[in-house]
């Protein structure tokens, strides 16, 4: 039994249709069933989950998981196992270096002059001394890499994340970050290179590289989740919050006041005594 899959793939088209209808406003009901208004706690948790499109998202997620299982994961596995590690590192560095102009642009748009400068310097050093970006010389010099994208830029400008969205093939996102992906695509200078093959290869390589790097983590997560979809949704939100704050401690997820369970333990211990003997 696989409790992580809460629906049957054969019924996916019907669900997708329902979700599509509710998305376009044609459906008679809301997308995810909102809890009754007389249950404020349930309503609050519904709001906090921030996933009104959950039924549709789960369908797309399931398709992504299957696509991953049969295509991306095997490819990433072969890449990870067959390609020598130094070559993998070189490819990873090369791809990261290519993204530097976009990172520079976003750092600048966020008003982070220090990081914009550092990124520019990294690009200059690694593109030349670092053999076209294959060696991260700048990193070894202590100029650390940190990714910035337009989703983060929008967040720095004060934009709300919007509802959680699972994008086909691209995976977890939200309204703000999805818009960010589109803007980054057009803002990336390499997009305007006349070599389409280069851009397709770069896109493909980025996906395989990322999947290979997170190979064990994603496998472990899928294997050990009670609800893989919900676990990924939670991780995505926390990860983005961390990225937006550039890992600053102040922006740690608001640490909930974890209640002590001592009182309840006492309750539990007292309870049998209070209960009338049967």
């Amino acid at each position: 039994m696989q409790p992580t899959r809460t629906f049957d793939l054969r019924r996916a088209p019907a669900r997708a249709l329902i979700a599509l209808l509710c998305l376009t406003g044609l459906g008679p009901v809301g997308c995810a069933t909102s809890p009754p208004a007389d249950d404020p706690e349930a309503l609050e948790s519904f709001r906090q989950t921030n996933d009104p499109l959950e039924p549709l998202n789960r369908v797309v997620f399931a398709v992504n998981v299957e696509t991953d299982r049969y295509i991306l994961k095997p490819v990433a596995y072969v890449y990870k196992e067959a390609v020598p590690e130094p070559v993998q590192d070189a490819i990873g560095n090369f791809l990261q270096n290519l993204s530097s102009p976009a990172v520079f642009l976003n750092a600048a748009l966020q008003g982070d002059a220090d990081h914009a400068g550092a990124t520019l310097l990294r690009f200059a050093i690694n593109s030349t001394v670092g053999l076209a970006g294959t060696v991260d010389i700048a990193g070894e010099m202590g100029i650390v890499r940190r990714d910035e994208d337009f989703g983060q830029t929008l967040a720095v400008w004060g934009a709300d994340e919007g509802p959680y969205i699972v994008l086909p093939f691209l995976g977890p996102s939200n309204a703000r970050d999805a818009l960010g992906i589109a803007v980054d695509y057009f803002a990336d200078p390499w997009t305007y290179l006349r070599y389409e093959k280069f851009n397709y290869s770069r896109f493909g390589a980025e996906i395989v590289d990322a999947r290979a790097r997170n190979f064990d983590l994603l496998n472990d997560l899928e294997k050990t989740s009670i609800d893989y979809y919900a676990a990924v949704r939670s991780l995505y939100r926390q990860d983005r919050r961390d990225a937006i704050a550039n890992g600053a401690e102040a922006a740690l997820p608001p640490l909930p006041d974890i209640p002590d369970d001592e009182e309840d333990l006492e309750d539990e211990e007292r309870e049998p005594a209070r209960r009338p003997a049967k």
Partner: protein, 215 residues
């Protein structure tokens, strides 16, 4: 931070004897700055030794079962599992019966061993570096640390939320690169309960299914 522990000149010593209040005042002024760091140092040392235990028990050729066993020992000795279990059940804790709570706590421990024992297998022998310690509230402190995974990869940031309990210091949350273990589990458990019609029994069945018979 170290104090100078030079012996005071003899004449001052004799003066201090004559004026005991002055000596007391000096002692108080010298000691005050050390009260807070002494507490923080406790959390720091606690995390350092816990991390060393985790990372050394991962070195060498050991099987997944041995790793799980070592992990469970460290987990039960250093984590406030009752509190974490209760937090991760969120608002459903109150609705749970006493038996359900007990079973949940047992399953939750098994689940943590399953989910995390092998997550850090590549970190055998790494060294944890404490970056900072700060108080979150009256009882909790946040110990920020870093681990260098090697291979040119960026350092992993690990935050430990440590609570002063009746049994001494205990961990109530671990935050890896900004991702809180307690929050992640709470979120997916809430989703699991919702998908089983708001029934805790549904989550318990899934956990039972996932963890299998206890090793």
């Amino acid at each position: 931070m170290r104090t100078k522990r030079e012996n005071p000149p003899a004449d001052r010593q004799s003066r201090n004897v004559r004026r005991p209040w002055a000596a007391l005042l000096v002692a108080a002024v010298l000691l005050v700055p050390f009260i807070r760091p002494a507490v923080a140092g406790g959390a720091e040392a606690f995390i350092q030794s816990t991390a060393d235990k985790v990372f050394t028990s991962y070195t060498g050729e050991i099987t997944d079962e041995q790793r799980a066993k070592a992990f469970r020992e460290i987990l039960t000795a250093t984590f406030e599992l009752g509190t974490i279990a209760r937090f991760t059940l969120g608002r459903y804790w109150r609705a749970a019966s006493s038996d359900q709570r007990k079973e949940y706590r047992r399953l939750f421990e098994d689940f943590l061993v399953l989910a995390y024992a092998n997550r850090f297998r590549d970190l055998g022998g790494v060294k944890l570096r404490i970056a900072s310690v700060r108080a979150i509230n009256k009882r909790d402190q946040l110990v920020q640390s870093e681990v260098d995974p090697g291979g040119g990869r960026p350092p992993i940031r690990i935050g430990w939320r440590v609570r002063e309990t009746g049994q001494g210091l205990r961990i109530v949350d671990v935050i890896v690169d900004g991702i809180s273990m307690s929050i992640t589990q709470r979120d997916q458990f809430a989703a699991a309960i919702r998908s089983s019609g708001g029934k805790i029994a549904g989550l318990l069945a899934m956990l039972r299914d996932k963890t299998g018979p206890r090793q």
